[in-house]
Symmetry: C2
Subunit: 216 residues, 2 copies
């Protein structure tokens, strides 16, 4: 994605990522969770389902594509570049254990959004060099949503990255309405949440509270 | 892949698929296994590693791409269309639980080879309609190489498909030098093996014996 002209607009659209997670969704479907999250103000839905078989993933993806188009919300697919392409998602997010950023960029082309996880300055620099449109920075705090997350890194990397680079920074890991403001003040462009939304009894309300906490 | 002109040539090149499988390879690397299999007459290497992390898969894939180009052998990637594209494989093979054939075809384009697994006439017809360049038909006999394989289907489907369609049929499942001849006589264009090759003490020799058994 060319950042030159859409930079502020993209930043706004990256404000509040909700990552889907079937295990934490209290039996509600991925689409149901996403719809409520969008009602509450989510600006990005990231389809993330490490255990679904491919047919389920494609069906979920297609349903989310329809929903997110209707609601003018971005759809990003975690890890599976092929699924992102197949369902015509707006982008793909790759972690440090997924496909290398350069290859993902090559496959998705210049227009789609590429997000890359970074938990250290070295990873962040490599991700920017690989053509990341945004960095997923974290885990900021301890998290229960991602079993493979490393030790919390706090706010320092966010601030340092904000000082050095213009790449949007999306903070992830243990973020809630209480700490979201501090995260934005530290330099984050937006936040990404899993359990804080998908595990909430009232998903729309939980998202709304987070969205409000971002306007500090 | 346009079949019009290359049909006989492609058929020849599809004769002997060796699927990689780390668990059965006695500690030998995927590239080491593939090299010995090619020495013995494998015409297709199919990279199949359900458990490798993405970096390993990409690295293996790149090494196999180099090897198979040098040796003029086809390289096909199992399941991961994105990996197939990333390493510029000759094609992708999708099972019934992987990405639907139509989507895989859309992503790989018309030139790369699309293989689709079929264990019944219905699956075979759907696979042909989806644009399969070959069908992986099986499991023909009981197999230990694929833990998710269904009940053996025997030779009947091969014969029936051969009678009805021109799509190359690659038999898979419990195939060895003793039954390979019967499988070809039943209608198979070629065979695909896992343990019969990758678990052999002498991989090149095991492949050679299979290759000879195909020339019935």
């Amino acid at each position: 994605m060319t950042m030159d002209n859409v930079f502020p607009a993209l930043n706004d659209r990256l404000a509040l990522h909700v990552l889907t997670d079937r295990d934490w969704s209290r039996g509600r479907s991925t689409v149901e969770v996403a719809r409520a999250a969008i009602d509450g103000g989510a600006t990005v839905i990231q389809l993330r389902d490490k255990y679904a078989n491919m047919h389920t993933l494609i069906e979920e993806g297609k349903a989310l594509r329809k929903l997110t188009r209707q609601r003018n919300v971005l759809l990003i697919v975690n890890d599976r570049v092929d699924v992102a392409l197949a369902i015509e998602a707006d982008g793909v997010h790759v972690g440090q254990h997924d496909m290398p950023g350069e290859l993902a960029r090559k496959l998705i082309g210049p227009e789609r959004i590429l997000g890359i996880s970074a938990g250290s300055m070295d990873e962040a620099i490599a991700a920017i060099a690989a053509g990341a449109d945004y960095l997923g920075v974290g885990p900021i705090f301890a998290t229960q949503g991602k079993s493979d997350a490393g030790a919390p890194i706090g706010l320092e990397l966010l601030s340092e990255l904000k000082r050095r680079y213009t790449t949007p920074l999306i903070a992830i890991g243990g973020i809630n309405a209480e700490n979201a403001g501090a995260i934005i003040r530290a330099g984050a462009t937006g936040i990404a949440v899993i359990t804080a939304v998908v595990n909430a009894l009232d998903i729309a309300e939980a998202t709304r509270v987070l969205a409000n906490a971002l306007t500090v």
